[in-house]
């Protein structure tokens, strides 16, 4: 993976010394212009899905890469505390450092933009250890991630969530009332039914739904190029029409992307896999809204 390096932060208008990233929670001296929380983030987007395994974290990771490579400053926060897979996919490695004002996210350059990342996995020594936390403890951790981390001036903050509509989602909506949302579904009706519930959740919490993305939308057999619709067809678009929401696009199953994410090599391989164009189109559509 890419080792996050701290260099000159023009946006923070101060200079942070290069620190050995192996140390945990080293105090870094900064000027007082850095402030904790996400008040200086232009657009906060929570990504939700009803069911697990539909490709939500994958979508967050690739979207972050696409936005950053277009020159934007993007934050990514993983609130899936039991299964924080986003940090592996993004590929930034290191420890969370703190300054007087709060915690600093890990940061890496991607094209002309940057990605800043916060995940529980940066705080945990043993990655195989189960995080068996009940609601209140998860809520407290997420509030820290949102309120104590100095996210700085970002164009976007993408928040990955676990499947469902529970503690994590409610906490995010409470802390960031002006949050937008993107819903991810697979084409199956079973998955779509769960997304309907999420639409209801967004309505109830006042989140602005930017649209629906359909993942696992077919697989092109490498041998005969027949496109197999493994999980059915059109569920995402039907759902979007049914709810009066924008359909942002669909993404096929992509083994090469899966491989890149497993190895934390997404950011080096941006644009080079089968589904890259699909994601690029989705981000273009998003930027136009």
């Amino acid at each position: 993976g890419i080792n996050a390096e701290y260099g000159e932060f023009q946006t923070y208008q101060h200079y942070i010394k290069r620190i050995n990233l192996r140390k945990i929670m080293t105090n870094v001296s900064t000027e007082s212009t850095v402030s904790p929380g996400c008040d200086n983030v232009k657009i906060v987007i929570t990504i939700l899905s009803g069911k697990g395994g539909v490709g939500k974290s994958t979508t967050v990771a690739v979207m972050a890469g696409e936005l950053a490579s277009r020159g934007h400053s993007v934050g990514v926060l993983d609130t899936d505390l039991c299964g924080p897979s986003l940090s592996r996919m993004i590929g930034l490695k290191g420890s969370i450092h703190s300054c007087d004002q709060g915690w600093l996210p890990l940061r890496g350059a991607v094209g002309k933009g940057t990605i800043s990342s916060i995940s529980l996995s940066y705080l945990v020594d043993d990655q195989n250890e189960a995080v068996i936390w009940r609601g209140p403890k998860k809520t407290a951790m997420i509030k820290q991630f949102l309120g104590d981390v100095c996210w700085g001036e970002l164009d976007y903050l993408l928040i990955d969530t676990p499947p469902g509509t529970t503690d994590e989602h409610m906490t995010v909506m409470e802390v960031i009332p002006g949050c937008s949302a993107i819903l991810v579904t697979s084409p199956q009706a079973v998955s779509a039914a769960d997304v309907l519930r999420q639409v209801t959740f967004c309505k109830k919490t006042g989140a602005n739904v930017l649209g629906i993305i359909e993942t696992m939308s077919g697989f092109v057999c490498p041998n005969c190029s027949d496109c197999g619709l493994i999980f059915g067809k059109g569920g995402g678009e039907r759902l979007a029409n049914h709810c009066g929401l924008p359909f942002l696009g669909s993404v096929p199953i992509d083994p090469s992307l899966s491989r890149s994410l497993d190895k934390g090599e997404l950011l080096q391989n941006m644009g080079s896999s089968t589904s890259s164009q699909n994601y690029s189109d989705i981000v273009e559509k998003l930027l136009q809204t």
């Binding site: 009803g50 974290s57 068996i132 609601g135 009706a189 079973v190 519930r197 919490t205």
Partner: protein
């Protein structure tokens, strides 16, 4: 996934089976078993579960919701309370097997099930994964969870292990096993790899329609046999 394995119980197992869906926020089990939209009845003995055509008893929050898009926006303590009710206030009758479907993760729902069934005990757990390392990383945590709480692990099922093209019959890996797949994980953790199941459009379709489809992957049979053997 596990729902399809459960459907096979009816054919292969001599015994009564009950299924409870503790994924309170995303209760898809009822639809997959073909009984969504039904209601539960309350009697002196408690709630009565909904029975499928094959006499499998099902309990899910789906039966208590007003409509398909009602959102269950509950925090952990409320979910825990509901799951306790599913386990204690439902008139299951005499069951040979009770299968509990859980959401991903290791949180309130899982703790609720384990703590409530402390007296009867949980006979075993089946862990389901897909081949990629991202998925295996989470399953290692689940293994850790089971060990911490002393839950016996029956074994691991690798889902979506491959895809067979219906046109040319060539097998493709749709989620490459970059770190040895479930087999590697099982070797490392000393667990049994019960079966590897391919992705099948038929399974997806039958889940959507709630009907037991023709041409279910034969691999599910291995899962059923192993569970019966383990519990026997």
């Amino acid at each position: 996934f596990a729902e399809f394995g459960k459907q096979w119980y009816q054919r292969r197992v001599r015994g009564s089976v009950g299924v409870v869906d503790v994924d309170v926020c995303g209760p898809s089990l009822a639809r997959i078993m073909g009984v969504n939209g039904q209601t539960v009845h309350r009697s002196a003995a408690g709630w009565s579960p909904v029975y499928t055509v094959d006499d499998i008893a099902v309990m899910s929050i789906d039966f208590l919701l007003e409509s398909e898009d009602s959102a269950v926006i509950w925090r952990g303590d409320k979910k825990t309370g509901m799951i306790r009710q599913f386990l204690s206030s439902v008139d299951w009758g005499e069951l040979d097997y009770l299968i509990v479907d859980t959401p991903p993760g290791t949180s309130d729902e899982h703790l609720a099930v384990v703590s409530h069934l402390k007296e009867t005990g949980v006979t075993g757990c089946v862990l389901v994964t897909t081949p990629q390392e991202v998925s295996l990383a989470d399953v290692r945590k689940e293994v850790n969870f089971c060990r911490k709480l002393r839950l016996p692990i029956i074994g691991v099922v690798e889902n979506m292990a491959w895809y067979e093209c219906p046109k040319c019959e060539v097998r493709s890996e749709i989620f490459p096993a970059t770190s040895g797949g479930a087999e590697g994980l099982c070797k490392g953790e000393g667990l049994r790899l019960v079966c590897r199941v391919p992705v099948s459009p038929k399974v997806g379709r039958s889940g959507d329609e709630g009907v037991e489809g023709e041409g279910m992957p034969a691999e599910y049979g291995l899962l059923v046999d192993e569970v019966v053997r383990f519990c026997g």
